[in-house]
């Protein structure tokens, strides 16, 4: 009988197994996981801490035991040390080697905590797993926390600021970048978000490099010599792909490089999810796009191909969405790309919409409090990047008009010819 190993069981691993079975794979599946709390969604941890979601709800597809019955796989809790790509085997932590016909690497990513002095204090936290959430929950319930430093003005960072701020904790949001959401927001949108945050009493300290954490997690020291005293520090600098189990034959950049069928460069070794580098449709390069939906699509694609059904996933563009403290931010495309920037505001509805254009093509979009048109425009951008050149259809136009997007902007997107009077700067 055919045998498949799945190393790591998050969103991508789950979707791969489900897809294999749905595509008729009859062989045995061994799922290796270092946590029984799987497949969990890391984005739900803060909702669990604040009590908005039950602990079980952070497992959106149910517990692994139920899933193993439903999709017929073995759960193996011994860690995988290495994927031996030529032998198609996994070397386990206990020294044993298991051989397979194909292997999926879906090990995800981990929170990155820079190894600065003092980072190991028990008052320093990161936020990715349910264990991280339990630690934060415990300190919030057990001790009096008055001041917190959140390092990393990221999508995770802002959710922690929201959580702590709601509990009356004074927060300082720190980043090396000069403004909030540096990987997603254009400066004018970032400035508006910062204005609102400051108005709510959140302190911002940008363009600041962390140097050390002192006094057992109660003082954050910056490279410029300044420091802030606090009761806890939350590190949300970013994530790192878990690629260490790939052996030296498997091509790894920041993530494991895959093709449209989620195949690595080594035969019968697949990879999907936050540990993989699929195609960024905007640049055409391989890049980690660490988004839940992307992991699902990649996992599903890997699963189909592992079941012997040819299926391709074209790739994705960078995109982010977060809602926090009464705001709603969405960013599409590469915020570092150059181009001419246009702002449209619907003051009546309190919405802002920014689009950056180069060579008559949108390269980056931001929406503040205006998610309504985001789906249509995301599909539009992806189509453009994919080279489909599809015109905007009537249904899309109806939706955009209904969301208050000005007709002249729609006409531009439709025609792709930039007219002088199309834009309101």
């Amino acid at each position: 009988m055919q045998k498949t190993a799945v190393a790591g069981f998050g969103c991508a691993g789950y979707h791969a197994v489900r897809s294999m079975r749905e595509h008729g794979y009859q062989g045995e599946i061994d799922v290796y996981t270092d946590t029984q709390w799987a497949p969990a969604n890391p984005m739900l941890t803060t909702y669990y801490i604040c009590g908005k979601l039950r602990r079980e709800a952070t497992l959106p597809f149910g517990a692994i035991e139920e899933l193993s019955q439903k999709y017929n796989f073995h759960i193996i809790t011994t860690s995988v040390q290495k994927v031996l790509s030529e032998e198609k085997a996994v070397l386990l932590q206990d020294g044993k080697t298991q051989y397979y016909d194909q292997i999926l690497i879906s090990t995800g990513a981990r929170a990155f905590v820079p190894p600065i002095p003092g980072h190991e204090s028990e008052r320093v936290f990161s936020m990715r797993t349910i264990e991280d959430a339990d630690r934060v929950r415990k300190i919030l319930e057990g001790r009096e926390i008055k001041r917190a430093v959140v390092a990393g003005a990221s999508m995770v960072g802002i959710k922690l600021v929201e959580l702590l701020h709601a509990r009356g904790i004074h927060c300082t949001l720190v980043d090396m970048a000069p403004y909030i959401f540096p990987l997603a927001a254009v400066p004018c949108v970032a400035a508006e978000i910062e204005r609102r945050l400051t108005g709510m009493g959140v302190e911002l300290a940008f363009s600041k490099a962390l140097k050390a954490i002192e006094e057992d997690g109660q003082r954050v020291v910056f490279a410029d010599g300044e420091s802030i005293s606090c009761d806890m520090v939350l590190m949300c600098i970013g994530t790192r792909a878990n690629t260490e189990i790939a052996d030296e034959n498997i091509k790894v950049n920041r993530g494991i490089v895959v093709d449209k069928r989620m195949r690595t460069n080594m035969q019968d070794i697949y990879c999907a999810g936050d540990c993989s580098e699929g195609c960024n449709l905007q640049t055409g390069d391989n890049q980690i796009i660490g988004i839940w939906d992307n992991a699902a699509r990649q996992g599903e694609t890997a699963g189909a191909n592992m079941a012997g059904v040819v299926k391709e996933y074209e790739g994705n563009m960078l995109h982010n969405i977060t809602h926090f403290m009464g705001m709603d931010f969405i960013g599409f495309g590469d915020v570092k790309s150059e181009g001419e920037e246009f702002l449209y505001e619907n003051k009546e509805k309190g919405e802002a919409f920014v689009i950056r254009v180069k060579d008559n093509k949108p390269v980056c979009m931001n929406f503040l409090d205006s998610y309504g048109a985001s789906g249509v425009l995301k599909a539009y951008m992806i189509n453009k990047f994919g080279g489909a050149g599809r015109q905007m259809d009537s249904v899309s136009k109806v939706r955009l008009l209904n969301e208050g997007i000005p007709e002249k902007l729609i006409n531009f997107l439709e025609s792709n010819s930039q007219e002088e009077d199309v834009w309101e700067k």
Partner: protein, 151 residues
């Protein structure tokens, strides 16, 4: 194979009967700021002529909202193929709205996602969806996906 609600735009006059029926069927309280799941609008063509539309969820076969939801609130109805949901665990993140190429997901007063579920319960019991049943011109039809013509 599933069902879809199909619009024949040539027969639509954007009268809004479908939207009113939708509000009634789904208890959408407009005085509380809710709108119908179905939007009705006219569109001026390049030639100056008008086209009329009534659009809601298209119940895509491979619905992107389903995999985009971080809480797994959305799924395909196994019997009739509509994209249905249970929003108990909805966190109101708007990921489904961002994933939907037609902008179909809406949000209730509590911030949780609500959308056209195709009146799945009605259809399972041999009735038409409310919008279809109330369309005076026969522009909206509930049909099997295979019968569905391109919009």
């Amino acid at each position: 194979m599933g069902k879809v609600i199909e619009l024949n735009a040539d027969k639509c006059s954007a009268c809004g009967a479908c939207a009113v029926a939708c509000m009634d069927q789904n208890d959408l309280d407009v005085t509380e700021g809710a709108s119908a799941f179905r939007i009705v609008r006219d569109l001026e063509g390049a030639d100056g002529g008008y086209e009329y539309y009534s659009i809601a969820c298209f119940h895509c076969e491979d619905a992107p909202c389903i995999s985009a939801c971080p809480c797994n609130c959305l799924k395909k109805d196994e019997e009739i193929g509509f994209t249905v949901y249970d929003n108990e665990n909805c966190i109101g993140c708007h990921s489904c709205a961002m994933a939907c190429p037609y902008g179909a997901p809406c949000y209730g007063k509590d911030g949780k996602m609500i959308k056209c579920g195709g009146c799945a319960v009605r259809v399972k019991n041999g009735l038409e969806p409310a919008c279809v049943a109330n369309c005076p011109t026969g522009a909206l039809r509930c049909v099997d996906r295979t019968e569905c013509e391109e919009l």
